[in-house]
């Protein structure tokens, strides 16, 4: 039997005899690794959700919003930032070549909606029929709004799955009449279920109506919250973005030295933003996880030092019967390593459990990834090496006669 294997068995035997100490040290590591695992799963989950959104939207979506990134556009009395109007949409369609589809979007949240005695607050979207293709948000049942609906500003709507559940339960909503701000609307269809957005918003809690109906029948307003555009040739995305920018600047009579009163976002911007957010999240959580692992390491080092002190006789006996300094060093390091790895495994399981719980409770998106196992093995090995070395050296440096005299 190899000497290292014999020492490994001794480490296991000694740990078996000091179960409480081992458990406390393991717990310290487990807490650190749990946070590390959850951090990795949550940041991975958040990033994948954004990528999923981008993939669903397609790589050729261009979004134009009023205001700059710092929100310095005009204000329409409320806090809402305004600058985009329906005429901008028409102009884009007329003057920009590389465009497949374009739709104005106006939305407002927490609008009261009633069906009989039932009541809910929902987000109302005013759009054109082409919006359904641009956002891949067509009807799952019934029909989407038509060009005629837009031309005549008819009072028709499509309800999202959450609205359907809140107002109709199991009843078929198509053909029913609901009251949006006390204005009657006929339900023309149900929207596809989309779930929770990467921003944590319920995408099914919405009602879609024709944009003209929104402005003429519900709210006296002209300003849009968004213009969504599908680019025809994605390789010319940058040029098209610049063309749209130039056109809107000209239409909004913005002087050359002034900033845009609108902001444009391409899928790449969204990916960049998600990466940035993901990096910030990773930095923050790595800090927290790193700190807890540092604490775990200090716990291990302190308990090991106390244990070494209490085990001086044992070390003396081993040295007397022939253990070399390196044998003692290896034994103590092995004990630290085993404790760290066992704590790490326990922590990884807890972390995975926690991540799955966060996902199922819809607190945060998280993705169970094998990366977390690798990260916990690496961090546990580092903990055991860094924080085990000092107690191990202290143990091995004792002379046999001093250790026996203790």
């Amino acid at each position: 039997m190899n000497r290292i294997v014999r020492i490994f068995k001794e480490s296991c035997r000694v740990m078996g005899g000091n179960r409480l100490q081992v458990f406390i040290m393991m717990l310290g590591v487990a807490v650190g690794v749990t946070s590390l695992t959850m951090m990795i799963c949550v940041s991975k989950g958040a990033y994948e959700q954004v990528m999923d959104t981008v993939n669903k939207q397609g790589p050729n979506l261009l979004q134009v919003r009023p205001g700059t990134d710092k929100q310095t556009g005009l204000s329409s009395g409320s806090r809402e930032v305004v600058s985009l109007v329906e005429e901008d949409v028409d102009a884009i369609l007329q003057h920009i070549g590389n465009i497949r589809a374009v739709s104005p979007v106006k939305d407002r949240k927490e609008i009261e909606v009633k069906y009989g005695a039932k009541f809910t607050l929902s987000r109302i979207f005013g759009v054109k029929p082409v919006w359904a293709q641009i956002r891949d948000f067509g009807p799952s049942k019934g029909e989407f709004i038509s060009d005629e609906d837009v031309s005549f500003a008819t009072r028709v709507c499509l309800v999202g799955q959450t609205v359907k559940k809140n107002l109709f339960g199991d009843t078929d909503p198509i053909g029913q009449t609901i009251q949006i701000k006390n204005v009657p609307f006929t339900v023309k269809g149900e929207l596809q279920g989309k779930g929770i957005s990467s921003a944590g918003r319920d995408r099914d809690d919405r009602i879609v109506i024709p944009i003209t109906t929104y402005f003429r029948r519900l709210f006296r307003d002209v300003y849009l919250t968004q213009i969504v555009i599908t680019i025809a040739d994605i390789s010319k995305m940058d040029e098209t973005v610049e063309d749209v920018r130039a056109l809107l600047r000209e239409r909004h009579t913005i002087a050359p030295e002034e900033p845009d009163d609108f902001a444009m976002r391409t899928p790449q911007d969204l990916i960049d933003l998600a990466s940035e957010a993901s990096i910030s999240l990773v930095n923050l959580l790595t800090g927290i996880a790193g700190f807890s692992l540092l604490v775990a390491g200090i716990v291990i080092m302190n308990i090991m030092l106390a244990s070494i002190s209490a085990r001086r006789n044992e070390i003396g006996i081993r040295r007397a019967v022939g253990a070399k300094r390196s044998d003692i060093l290896i034994q103590v390091m092995m004990e630290c390593f085993l404790i760290s790895i066992m704590g790490g495994m326990f922590g990884t399981i807890l972390g995975y459990g926690g991540s799955i719980a966060l996902s199922s409770l819809k607190v945060a998106a998280s993705k169970v990834t094998p990366l977390a196992v690798a990260a916990s093995i690496v961090s546990c090995s580092i903990i055991s090496l860094v924080f085990g070395l000092y107690p191990a050296r202290k143990a091995s440096n004792q002379s046999p006669v001093d250790a026996l005299r203790a």
Binding site: E314, R319, R325, P400
Partner: protein, 229 residues
């Protein structure tokens, strides 16, 4: 086999130095049974620690089988202890919460080669000290006499050249003392070299050669005569 020339040992604590051994000379041949006597604090244990390569003298020369031990490095000393010496201490020094068998096996863990028949050897060693029925007992479940016999079995497992015993009966009742001394006599008859450090006359008279440490110096000729008077 053991040759000690002008060994001195002085303990230093800050600016205070305490000489414990002064110019000790000693030669022990293979197969001898030697007792080193002396009152408390005369340096008996210090001398035994030096003879067992657990400690180094401040000055002087210690030869074991013709090798100058004072020139050996720490690892070689560990190997020497493992192969050549078997230790028996007053307080037994067994590993707690560890079975008698595992305690006896301990020196083999640090041997260069782990024998394939290690368990059989350990059981045999325990049988030699009359503990064949106590192999699975934890050290703390055994009586003082039994613990010391486990320690003797541990000292024997590597078939050492010398058994070094430091007050081996100091913590034992008279029955256990007799058992331990009986084992030493048997081992001596088998040809093993035994060095016992003791202040107990009953233990010392078992040896064939008695030395006495007084004020850090070793005296031989009059020790047995003194005991017999």
């Amino acid at each position: 086999m053991i040759k000690v020339k002008n060994i001195e040992k002085t303990y230093r604590k800050g600016s205070v130095s305490t000489p414990v051994l002064r110019c000790v000379n000693l030669a022990i041949n293979r197969g001898e049974y030697v007792a080193i006597m002396g009152t408390s604090g005369t340096g008996k244990s210090t001398l035994m620690n030096i003879l067992g390569c657990l400690d180094k003298p401040t000055s002087g020369m210690f030869e074991f089988d013709g090798v100058d031990v004072s020139k050996l490095d720490d690892d070689t000393l560990s190997t020497l202890r493992n192969k050549k010496f078997g230790f028996v201490f007053q307080v037994f020094f067994l590993l707690e919460r560890t079975t008698a068998l595992d305690n006896v096996l301990l020196p083999l863990i640090y041997a260069d080669k782990y024998p394939t028949d290690a368990i059989q050897r350990a059981k045999k060693a325990l049988a030699r000290v009359g503990l064949e029925d106590r192999t699975k007992y934890l050290a703390n479940e055994l009586s003082g006499g039994q613990q010391q016999r486990v320690a003797i079995a541990r000292a024997l497992i590597n078939d050492p050249d010398v058994i070094l015993a430091d007050e081996p009966t100091g913590n034992l009742d008279s029955d256990s003392t007799s058992e331990v001394l009986e084992i030493f006599n048997r081992l001596h008859k088998e040809g093993r070299t035994i060095v016992v450090v003791t202040h107990d006359r009953e233990v010392a008279v078992q040896a064939h050669r008695i030395l006495e440490l007084r004020d850090g110096k070793l005296f031989e000729n009059d020790a047995r005569a003194k005991l017999e008077n």
